[in-house]
Symmetry: C2
Subunit: 390 residues, 2 copies
């Protein structure tokens, strides 16, 4: 049976919303069509119409679009704070939802949209398109299949998120507690934070060191070093900043069977011939270590990116099968929980156990929103070209 085309509404016609609209409008997502758009900024709507034609229904609010009856699902690309409430509203109106990253700013609001998704039975996806990368899929495979053995330590140096002051000055909401609710962890790193837990699982506690406005005239964090511990005693590091140029993107994981490295899209596996734990028990020779082989792991080309996430969301909807999603929207809370824990550790100058105390986090965040230069709803920025952004 051939269903009618799934009617998609874009909420948030800024740079990223316009990007999604483009490939849907060009018919690159089978079984779906661009039906409507909503934005609170009339200029954005004008520009959107000029690009995609007058056939598309236009709304000056998310609510208007959601309640219009003109769409079956919404792709939400507004500023971060609005993702969860718009998601909740859409689920309550029987729509499917695909949220841009981060799925929200604090876990309390994300738990609400997760509950609304459960209650609605509709399909809930999150725009974690880096999960479509062949190298990332292979890394997860190597880690989850047991090839590396039990994890001992990991380290992600992801400092190639350079941003200049002019980037931050391009939108009033950017890099403010009121507008974004965070800095490099909330805007640039949601993908790596998601991949990190997708690869290695969730840590049990976090001790992080964040600097606010260290390299830029901004309110929020632009330099982070975080140490974490996992249930099995393994340790992890996550280091990020928007203040280094050129930066590093190196992810390594040490396990019982050797060392895995992801760098420049390439995976290398320095593989022990026998497990280190076994060697440690059996070897009698003083100095010595397990024989190991340097293996280059084939990972294939890049994945389908944004478009693949949207395609598979549409496919999941059409087949009524959430397991077809690149990333279930409910997963979005995991990376966010880690980033909330990092900020909380800095604010309290102490360890943070996971799960984070949601109420305490929100209180700490609200103090900063209160003193923020930006208040939500204070106006919005224009459309920034996100080509080359992620």
């Amino acid at each position: 049976m051939q269903m009618d085309k799934l009617r998609i509404g874009i909420i948030g016609a800024g740079g990223m919303g316009t990007n999604h609209a483009g490939y849907i409008h060009r018919g690159e997502v089978d079984g779906a069509e661009l039906a409507a758009v909503a934005d609170i900024n009339p200029k954005n709507l004008e520009l959107f119409k000029s690009r995609f034609g007058d056939d598309i229904a236009v709304f000056d609010s998310a609510e208007g679009l959601i309640e219009s009856g003109l769409v079956d699902g919404v792709l939400v690309a507004t500023p971060h704070y609005d993702h969860p409430p718009i998601g909740v509203k859409a689920f309550e109106n029987g729509l499917h939802v695909l949220l841009e990253k981060p799925v929200g700013v604090y876990t309390k609001q994300v738990r609400e949209v997760n509950a609304a998704a459960d209650a609605s039975g509709k399909i809930f996806g999150a725009m974690f398109q880096q999960r479509t990368s062949a190298a990332h899929i292979k890394m997860r495979d190597l880690l989850r299949s047991g090839e590396l053995g039990e994890m001992k330590r990991n380290c992600w140096l992801i400092t190639d998120w350079y941003r200049s002051q002019s980037y931050y000055d391009s939108g009033g909401w950017r890099a403010t507690w009121g507008g974004e609710g965070g800095g490099v962890l909330l805007n640039q790193c949601p993908h790596q934070l998601d991949l990190w837990q997708w690869f290695c699982g969730m840590p049990v506690r976090v001790r992080a060191f964040c600097s606010f406005g260290k390299y830029h005239d901004i309110e929020v964090e632009d330099d982070v070093t975080a140490y974490v511990e996992y249930e099995n005693g393994a340790t992890g590091l996550f280091v990020t900043t928007t203040g280094e140029a050129p930066g590093t993107n190196l992810f390594e994981v040490a396990g019982d069977m050797g060392r895995l490295e992801l760098s420049g899209g390439k995976i290398s596996f320095d593989r022990n011939r026998i497990s280190e734990r076994q060697f440690n028990r059996e070897y009698q020779g003083g100095f010595g270590e397990p024989e190991h082989w340097q293996c280059d792991i084939p990972a294939g080309g890049g994945g389908g990116g944004h478009k693949e996430v949207t395609r598979r969301w549409v496919e999941a909807i059409r087949k009524g099968d959430s397991s077809l999603l690149v990333a279930d929207g409910r997963d979005g809370i995991k990376g966010l929980e880690i980033s909330n824990a990092m900020l909380m550790s800095e604010w309290t100058d102490d360890w943070v156990e996971l799960p984070v105390d949601e109420k305490e986090y929100l209180e700490l965040l609200r103090k900063r929103i209160k003193d923020s230069d930006y208040r939500p709803g204070q106006g919005d920025d224009g459309v920034m070209d996100v080509d080359g952004s992620f």
Copy 2:
């Protein structure tokens, strides 16, 4: 004027002492000769005589050798705790001193030997032979000459110190609070800790996470992740363990002029055409970063190692010029101070400001010595072959 040959006494005829004796005995240190040896273990002395002949004076205590009048300088390669008191005794008897690393176990005792060196006016060297490596000299040059600009962040992943249980079982004093006073930080890492401060200067505070006996049946730390901050706000990481195989040895420094990496003895410098700070102020384009060039830095071959340190100590003595030393013995306290701070941070589960509170550190250490399986003077291990060790 041709001086007589400098008469060197080796104190501690274990693996490392025997190694030093070998090249001196073979005449590879101009202007010096092997004159005497001391060890508390008669077996070590027997073995020593069988290798180097009966001409060498033999003592069953450091004191005996120091007070014999048969040597002009001593090279001390005993277990770590004994380095400072033997050094003090030697200086008080008008001898020159070259101490193996670490120069001591806690800074209070090292301050005493530093003071004794000052009072004696004799030449005081430390066996930091990794400072003779061409790549290390070049790294320091690039960092100290300003080529990298102001440092923002550094990270040393130095986890290739793998040791199996059989290594630890080879000597009763090994990896005990009473016998060594620490684990991977005291035994394996003194070189990197010294180089770290030689490259980047001393941090002002430390927050470290150490695990004790995590991968081995030992009392002391075999897994460490340390975060530090420098006076200018730069951050640093130092990660080490004896529990990973194969390990990593990667040192990177991010600075205003780009990124410097030392790995596998090779230096690469990803150099910004203009300073990032200047770019940040001047650029108006939103997304964008400074143009940068990938530069392979020539570093030449390896350095002279142990032998060069001993040669230059002898040269410094003969010319009465401490500036000829590879490493002044007084510098040894710096890396030790960082490692003491790391352990103290774990023990107190808190920040440690530098300089470390010496008395508090000693108290914390003494508690662990009290409960240690090993007591100093409880007997010693045989001679382990240190070829391939550092």
